[in-house]
Subunit: 219 residues, 2 copies
């Protein structure tokens, strides 16, 4: 039924196309990109099986659309937050770490979906082991990496360029891993670790990584 077609004639994005994007993201978060079939997607989106190929061309292009829609805004927000930091004040290192992490937490909390789903999908993008995914994600990442390395080395002059690059990688890994698995911590710890909210996870991540960033081997 034509209800929401009041606006935007030329730049029209079909309701079905948006539904496919939305459902795909939710299913990809749960089971990964490969495990989710087009049949499962189109059934959940109440669309025809051929809808994905019609609107996106192929499953691969659907995945690309989901990934880029997800990581693009996050990286832009990271750069925006980084620009706002006064690198001269003490605590600037923690601000850098927050500029990297908070865009993900914000996006997760802002979403109409549950936080978990978003975190899992984001984690699958950041730390994917699939070359087809990483090539999509890493396309935007060189700029982010370079800017954060520069900022980090301004705040911590004793860190070499190589070490700075590695530490950014450590940060990404710690974040991606814990974003994906933090809800399992209760089980793995056999009840010894209580459920932690996403916000408390964020706080601990910032503390841990900030301390790691400030580490001085030569000291």
């Amino acid at each position: 039924m034509p209800i929401a077609q009041r606006e935007s004639i030329s730049a029209s994005v079909t309701a079905t196309k948006m539904r496919l994007l939305d459902v795909s993201g939710r299913l990809f978060a749960e089971s990964g990109f490969d495990s989710v079939s087009l049949r499962l997607i189109t059934e959940n989106a109440e669309a025809n099986l051929a809808a994905v190929n019609y609107h996106f061309g192929s499953k691969e292009e659907l995945i690309a659309a989901v990934v880029e829609k997800l990581v693009g805004p996050v990286n832009q927000r990271r750069l925006a937050l980084l620009r706002q930091i006064n690198l001269d004040v003490s605590g600037a290192c923690q601000s850098i770490v927050e500029a990297f992490i908070d865009p993900v937490i914000e996006a997760a909390s802002r979403g109409d979906e549950e936080d978990q789903k978003f975190c899992k999908l984001m984690s699958r993008c950041i730390a994917s082991r699939d070359e087809r995914i990483t090539s999509l994600v890493l396309r935007q990442f060189p700029e982010v990496l370079a800017k954060f390395v520069d900022a980090l080395r301004l705040v911590c002059p004793w860190i070499s360029s190589d070490v700075a690059h590695m530490r950014i990688m450590f940060m990404a890994g710690a974040m991606a891993h814990s974003l994906f698995h933090y809800d399992k911590l209760v089980i793995i710890s056999e009840g010894r670790c209580e459920i932690s909210s996403l916000d408390s996870l964020r706080d601990e991540l910032v503390q841990f990584i900030s301390a790691g960033m400030l580490a001085d081997t030569s000291k």
Copy 2:
């Protein structure tokens, strides 16, 4: 009727079976567990297509064999190293971190294969997003987690149980992520970061994580 029977004679492991295990590990490291077909495995192992089902029962059991053969010894070595640590001396925190990381580095360097392949496979096991894999890996992990949490809290009494659990998770994430992606750092950094050996990566990991472990929020 061929039956994939449990090894009544424990010493008898066929040459074909060992070749399948070896080739599977190498291929799984490159492309992941799902993407590698039994046909590709058996061709590379110069065995018949039915060989996997004959010797292991199913592909799933082959994966389980590969995973357990890989992560089992590493976890045992972790616990052994942890027991040897004198938790009273200064620098004990770094020793704990080393006890977690070094077994992986040792196994990678000891292998007859290239380091990269081993690291990628190990990383796929540790930080897998596939429930079927994580359930295998995490079976042994509660003991490791509990022991490392206890040791960490002895050395850093100001850390709560919840925070200790999270920091172990951060450590695993930083390690797994960098083990898998460190060889890509040259490309992502657009040449600004030189190739780093596995040993130098290990040293920086230890420095970074040790500092993170020692972080004191209340300070």
